[in-house]
Symmetry: C2
Subunit: 316 residues, 2 copies
């Protein structure tokens, strides 16, 4: 469930554009007003505002927005103002350009979105970068990571609820054998986790647990190569329990000395309109603190104000 | 260019449905009338007829059609009556179920369609088979064929005209090195031909020819493993000169003792509305015979009549 609070009645896109124009002009920028408007509009409404603004004032809304703001606040508002598929294309492109095995964006985009959302990301990537997403990944990565990531972003998983229990059993066995052989880049292993539907994979992992005593992610721990196994675990988490996974990313980002802003912004901005309510619950369950409290303690100013708005703080 | 001749004015879908109903009922089926209607309608018009018929008579149009016809004529008309993405999904599924390395459908569907057409095939596959296309391929094939086919059907090639000449040069070199090493299932080889845009690949193959003296397909001949190399050549042909490729498939199908109906029907039905005019020219250039003549000599009856209609014979 989304944590975005939209006022009723909602101003029209033209009215919002006029207010935003006022916020940009005059003595200094009126950040509070920008948050009040953009932080309380859905993706479709923000798109309508961008279009109305560009038509009214003949300047690119996003460029103007970026020129008015700075640092994390700018980054968060810029990402928030993009259409979700365009934002994911941009995050994917950034990840590819400075790719490291610790990178999570590509896995999140390919496993914690619906099949049709991932498809829209691939289309947006064409438009923005004049290449295909899988083409760029394939030419910037190597070995097992390449096999995994190219197949993940290229997949179009079936999304129906049908589950084949016999298949779940036989593929749980294949996964277990690959783990026993420490063959983590095994073709069958990658085939199963990159092509099967989420419903089917959940059945397979349940069967794995019943047959072999642990959740598969437990058996993927404390083995080598560490970074690749960590990525496999992220794939499985994004497929099976994305909300718990994102709560953990937030926890690690906030716990860090100085806060890992990149991850904090990414998770808040990409999940606010989908499942942030549940992520907040997971966060609370695990830390006995509310996410609001944790973010407020670690951030400040308009940046803090904006993140709290996105996770559902009532307007003051 | 299409070879389908649509009469003007075109009857409405309801009028066509009424005529088809008459063709189905009464003393024996009126095959001539069925050809006269369906052989002269575009994909969109055929879809409208299917819908109108089903609504008017409360029976499935395709089932009724199949029950009225037999053998090759039935097969050709049935495939023709489907929407192109649905037809491709069905052809892909048939190929997977009785997969052999000689199979061409999967390569044609993934390389001789546009990126968005391939995408529609993947959607149609979900609807029809409750699985993803790549999932079924991955679990029915092995080794290099699997690597190649899964990536081909999963790709969403960029379709713009932009070409990077430096990249073309360096990737031509990579392809040449793989061929020199006889490493045909080489990851880089498969990466390049499955992910790059068609414009980019054409530049790469041109560079290859300039630098190394032959078209790449020449260097992929007379090597082992034969069937896999033949598949690589088909990929390259479908990307670089699909019309010449399809003309050759027709030539081989018709030249065979007894005619290979499967391939003949597949090519006529899938290309009639796209590039059959050019395929006919290619055929004529190579054999000094017209395709009409060749098909007429090797087929007979309503089946012959229907194929000739699809390749543009004027109504008698």
């Amino acid at each position: 469930m989304s944590t975005i609070i939209v006022p009723t009645p909602t101003p029209t896109p033209v009215e919002d554009s006029e207010s935003l124009r006022k916020a940009f002009e005059g003595w200094g920028t009126n950040e509070k007003l920008i948050i009040e408007i953009l932080g309380h509009r859905t993706a479709a409404q923000r798109r309508a505002i961008r279009q109305a603004y560009t038509q009214l004032y003949e300047e690119d809304f996003l460029k103007r927005l970026q020129s008015e703001l700075t640092r994390e606040f700018e980054r968060a508002l810029f990402l928030w103002s993009l259409d979700p598929p365009e934002r994911d294309a941009l995050l994917a492109h950034e990840s590819i350009k400075k790719w490291s095995p610790k990178n999570r964006s590509l896995i999140e985009i390919s496993c914690a979105r619906s099949s049709s959302e991932l498809w829209l990301v691939r289309q947006a990537y064409h438009v923005r970068y004049k290449k295909s997403l899988e083409e760029d990944i394939a030419s910037h990565t190597q070995g097992d990571f390449r096999k995994l990531l190219v197949q993940l972003v290229s997949s179009y998983r079936y999304e129906g609820p049908e589950v084949d229990m016999r298949l779940a059993k036989s593929e749980a066995k294949q996964l277990h054998e690959a783990i026993e052989d420490k063959a983590f880049g095994n073709e069958e292993f990658i085939r199963i986790i990159t092509t099967r539907s989420k419903a089917q994979l959940n059945a397979t992992f349940n069967n794995y647990k019943d047959e072999y005593g642990h959740h598969i992610n437990k058996d993927l721990k404390n083995e080598k190569p560490e970074e690749f196994l960590e990525s496999l675990r992220v794939v499985i988490k994004c497929i099976c329990f994305p909300e718990r996974y994102f709560a953990k990313v937030l926890r690690l980002a906030i716990d860090k000395l100085g806060t890992e802003e990149e991850a904090l912004i990414r998770v808040v901005v990409t999940r606010a309109e989908t499942d942030m309510n549940n992520i907040k619950e997971e966060y609370h369950k695990r830390t006995s603190k509310t996410l609001e409290h944790a973010i407020a303690a670690d951030t400040s100013g308009y940046y803090e104000e904006f993140l709290l708005t996105l996770i559902g703080k009532e307007q003051s």
